[in-house]
């Protein structure tokens, strides 16, 4: 063995953090938050420890699908700047190791969620992993510019799973919590795509800004924002909504639609002139948007416990 080979092998020895990075911890934080809200606002009590375990395994299930995504996409991750530091690209973890870890954690998380709660929650988690890995990663991501819309569905399931963990069922309120994140993802992501120069094209991943142009992307942002507003207001009319949620939802959606209209009215020359100020503001606001909607559901739920919230 030559010296250089020896050095390379040493560099590729993975630490614990490299395996943890396979689980996409930043994505997991959104999963934990929305699943937590879904579970807490559900109209059925859950033992706090069982609830904690359920959230943990929902997060691990989400992380497992992240690891499987890194296994399948190792080739295109190596071509994009944003994903160059992923352990499957740096060589710290081989794609095969990511695959084994992903499958093992997928099985573990689904079984543990079933044992801790019920089969509905476990089945929803299994479907989420299947959807993200097979439908999104393997099938649609490299095929259609609507990939982000479909991919967003996988990220939208956690509040529904949290709800099912507490109640064992799927209801209009839980479906609307799903729809909120689902409809939020496209405007959020496409606003980012309008001002960040990404290199999806290098990796042959079709993105709307590249395949259909930026004008069409602006139209799509407006369309999805209107759908999103309808979902957000509709959610406020269900049993988990109330005046406090509705007040915030109406104000935020009015502001969000105004931002989408502003983006729609601009062309690229306007956008370049002020360094994409409107798009940047819209994107920043979208982060607060999702956090506050789910946060207000929690506030409404807390108020209801004191006999104040709800309709």
């Amino acid at each position: 063995m030559s010296d250089s080979t020896f050095t390379t092998d040493q560099d590729r020895e993975a630490g614990f953090g490299d395996y943890f990075a396979l689980l996409k911890p930043r994505v997991m934080s959104l999963v934990v938050f929305t699943a937590f809200v879904g579970m807490l606002v559900a109209p059925a009590p859950i033992n706090p420890f069982v609830g904690l375990v359920a959230i943990l395994f929902i997060a691990i299930g989400g992380g497992a699908s992240g690891a499987l995504n890194m296994w399948w996409d190792a080739d295109i991750d190596a071509k994009m700047k944003r994903t160059l530091k992923r352990p499957t690209v740096t060589g710290k973890v081989t794609p095969d190791e990511a695959k084994v870890l992903g499958f093992a954690l997928s099985g573990l998380s689904v079984i543990m969620l079933f044992l801790a709660t019920n089969w509905v929650a476990a089945a929803l988690l299994a479907f989420t992993i299947f959807f993200y890995v097979v439908i999104y990663t393997m099938w649609l991501k490299r095929w259609t510019p609507q990939n982000i819309v479909i991919g967003g569905a996988a990220g939208a399931f956690p509040p529904m799973i949290g709800w099912a963990a507490a109640t064992g069922d799927v209801t209009l309120a839980s479906v609307l919590m799903f729809a909120l994140t689902f409809a939020w993802t496209p405007p959020h992501f496409w606003a980012l795509a309008l001002f960040v120069k990404n290199d999806y094209a290098n990796a042959d991943v079709p993105m709307l800004t590249v395949t259909h142009g930026r004008r069409v992307t602006r139209n799509h942002i407006l369309g999805y924002t209107i759908v999103l507003a309808a979902v957000a207001i509709g959610l406020g009319l269900t049993s988990i909504g109330g005046p406090a949620y509705m007040a915030v939802a109406v104000a935020m959606n009015a502001w969000f639609i105004k931002g989408a209209v502003d983006i729609w009215r601009r062309d690229d020359a306007d956008s370049e002139a002020d360094n994409h100020l409107t798009e940047r503001k819209f994107f920043k606001f979208s982060l607060l948007y999702l956090f506050l909607h789910f946060g207000m559901l929690l506030v409404e739920h807390t108020l209801m416990r004191f006999g104040l919230g709800g309709w």
């Binding site: 040493q10 020895e13 993975a14 630490g15 614990f16 953090g17 395996y19 943890f20 009590p45 033992n47 420890f49 069982v50 375990v53 943990l56 044992l115 801790a116």
Partner: protein, 63 residues
């Protein structure tokens, strides 16, 4: 010929330690979690002696 002195602890050892330690902690936590889950599930199952008291308490609180 210049030689590189052998060090007792190389960076590679630190990484291996972090991996082994991390896995150890995860396994211990998992055991604790399954134990805790068992207590929580049995303790809140009305069909079980342990959980019957809890269920009765919940019913009283609901009234």
């Amino acid at each position: 010929m210049a030689t590189t002195p052998i060090r007792a602890t190389h960076e590679i050892h630190t990484r291996r330690l972090s991996r082994n330690l991390g896995l150890g902690i995860v396994l211990v936590l998992f055991v604790g979690l399954v134990y805790g889950l068992t207590i929580a599930k049995v303790g809140t199952d009305p069909r079980d002696d342990l959980g019957a008291d809890w269920a009765a308490g919940q019913e009283r609180a609901a009234k």
